[in-house]
Symmetry: C2
Subunit: 256 residues, 2 copies
């Protein structure tokens, strides 16, 4: 029995890896957030599904592990990559906890430890960057604006240091209904160190209906309304607009 923690990429079948497709084909049960279960169901209609709503991350992993203990092969799916703000960490830790408790089966035999295999996928920074051009060609960082599990002071500190390091910054979870105005707050912090003309971009609904991407200035980004599914890119000082694309140079002769 094995728990596969599978990154399904941005949403379309085409952006899944061959390995993810094979794991989903061969498993007994697919567990995940309702929206992502609905995305994969048409391609794997004959599987058992365990759909859980947002926020129920620990419960979702627990349900997946329970199914493994019943002897099923389970794919726990995450959008993008399961290891980037995803469930891979909880899955490894909770499986290890179960294992170290020497879980006993009904017949008194010590059960085999659940093996966890993480199948990497294309995270939103990577798929969004491909749509926008090439903003991540040089050093960059990922910062989530969600303060549900992280103090806002730490997020703010990281934004300031990332701007000082002059790396391209990718923002995950820029806003949500309960966190309206967070993207503006982040832009205001970045504007202390960066010029308002700094090249930025947004991308969303990647590989799905309604896919969008826009290149804009940091000033314009400040007035942009994002949601949980928008990925935001703030270029480094070297990032340029090339046609309608956003490109960070690597330092080649032809880029000078």
């Amino acid at each position: 029995m094995k728990l596969y923690v599978v990154g399904i990429g941005p949403g379309s079948f085409e952006n899944m890896t061959v390995r993810a497709v094979n794991a989903l084909k061969e498993c007994d049960v697919i567990a995940g957030y309702t929206v992502y279960c609905d995305l994969v169901r048409p391609h794997f209609p004959d599987k058992d599904y365990i759909s859980t709503p947002m926020m129920g991350e620990e419960k979702r992993v627990k349900m997946a592990l329970d199914k493994c203990q019943e002897g099923k092969n389970v794919c726990l799916i995450c959008s993008g990559d399961a290891g980037v703000y995803g469930l891979a960490g909880l899955a490894v830790s909770m499986a290890e906890d179960l294992g170290s408790k020497g879980h006993m089966a009904d017949d008194g035999e010590c059960e085999e430890k659940i093996q966890v295999e993480i199948i990497p996928g294309v995270t939103a920074a990577i798929s969004g960057a491909a749509l926008l051009g090439a903003p991540l060609i040089h050093d960059f960082c990922f910062i989530s604006l969600s303060d549900r599990l992280t103090p806002w002071e730490l997020i703010e500190k990281r934004l300031r240091l990332a701007a000082e390091a002059d790396m391209t910054i990718v923002l995950y979870n820029p806003e949500s209904k309960s966190r309206a105005g967070y993207l503006r707050k982040a832009c205001d912090i970045l504007l202390e160190a960066c010029d308002g003309s700094r090249v930025c971009g947004v991308a969303g609904e990647i590989g799905r209906e309604g896919e969008y991407c826009h290149v804009m200035s940091l000033n314009d980004l400040r007035d942009y309304t994002a949601d949980m599914f928008t990925t935001v890119f703030i270029g480094s000082s070297g990032t340029r607009q090339v046609g309608d694309k956003m490109v960070t140079p690597r330092g080649y002769e032809s880029e000078k």
Copy 2:
């Protein structure tokens, strides 16, 4: 005529996306660094290949664009993702330059602009993290230790600021024959701010023969000999060793 810039992932066919496989199936010509052409050739044996050695990045993109201008559909392949220290930026910029020159064909007609489509792939940080456990579950950054195109002072500055921001750090291009000792130099800088017991990891040859990953302390990483194909992970202060894995917590109750 179209130039597809394709991230082939860490190396195995299974870790390519369905979209990358389809593009490689349907194109006329595959262009890339010799090592990566050799990786895909067995799966797409009937294609024309343009293999160029390392360092010839601008020439490689130029050759791919030339083939497009001959009316061929070309896949320019990169390992991992083409947008992360890859050729996506050069491809977008050089195609734009060609277009803005209003390139004339032999018959005097103005040629159509070459369309560039970037097909995202699984970069080494993502595939390496999946092997090591879940080091990238919270904020993190990518820093390349190659000073071929970037001044070492900037690399050093970014390392210091990333340590201060307490993000997980992924190092690309940690060492090469001509840059022996660079990983040790980087570790010495990080050790000014981080404890020697900080949880770190390395991964390499991912999805290929000889695949490896090891979790170790920052002190041990300082004495590790990496190469161009090793990806290095330095955990944040919260990163823990869980069994033989490396996990950065997200902040869930069960992680406290």
